[in-house]
Symmetry: C2
Subunit: 209 residues, 2 copies
Amino acid sequence: MKFYDCATAPSPRRVRIFAAEKGIELDTVQVDLSSGEQFGDAFCAINPDCVVPALVLDDGTCLSEVTAICQYLEEHKPDPTLWGSDAATRALTTMWHVKVDQQGLAAIADVFRNTAKGMKGRALPGPDDYEQIPELAERGRQRVYNFFEKLDRQLASNEFVAGGRFTIADISALVFVDFARRAKIDPPQTLDNLARWYQAVSSRPSAAA
Amino acid sequence: MKFYDCATAPSPRRVRIFAAEKGIELDTVQVDLSSGEQFGDAFCAINPDCVVPALVLDDGTCLSEVTAICQYLEEHKPDPTLWGSDAATRALTTMWHVKVDQQGLAAIADVFRNTAKGMKGRALPGPDDYEQIPELAERGRQRVYNFFEKLDRQLASNEFVAGGRFTIADISALVFVDFARRAKIDPPQTLDNLARWYQAVSSRPSAAA
């Protein structure tokens, strides 16, 4: 397996943390997003979607999308599980992982991609160009705050995002909060449950990945 | 199990088709989205996200998000599989399912929710109100056409969206194309592979679900 990464980008970090929690050492290739290497012929031949992360299996199959890559790694090395030990728990983990992805990470990506000067004409990842929409950044900011509150409510009665154990949903949520902080959107200090959880998950050795 | 559905909405249709392909009969409750029943106290107590589909398990656990519900049904009744028979195939299915979800269905939802008069102030599903952004509808339209082309390229060398067998990725893609057609965005007639695939999947008995 070969893992195509970018050390500074949030999406591949989700896979790095996932692999670190599992004790999987990935054979990693850095793709330089700052110089546009992802749009070059060499990388597009590997992943026509021109995004990292991508995981190329030994038979040449290229997996992109964080969820697909992590699902493969979960089957490749089931212990420790980062999804759960029965069907209902695994489904709840997926549910929260999807909510973090679509309500949290998508919202902060909307803020970043629709405001950053370097993202002009690049408001969405992938090979197609889309202009920035300032109103979408503003909506994204509102959504990030709403999602901080949703996480806090969930964490009031659960140690981790999807229940009683650390899962992929915590990894996605940690990367969401850190991505928001980079954009100077910090969780309100009144959200004690979120603060308690953040302290715990960001202290795990995997968070440095 | 109890399935909370809305017969006219695209998201729960994905679960209905999935269950039909598996031969699972769901005990179904219709939620009347047109009258706002999803925001009423009774339904919000079941699913605080105020969206359908939702699947409530016998122990009271509420699963929302199409992917989580279908994953649960896949484990509940593994045959016939709608994900694949080995780890790499299952991961490829998830990859395409996510692409259809985020690049196809999200784009047509942007068109619909940012233009429909009945969606004023309701540009996103869930309990929070967001104003419509006309530029987002226009971007969504471009993205839908780009995604039609991506599907057509993939289907040039694959019988189904994720490879050689019918999977959840085909279900998501069928619902995407039908949702786009309702918004009067038809696939260009030049996309022969997409047309061939659509003819095949829309003729399956499950498509009536």
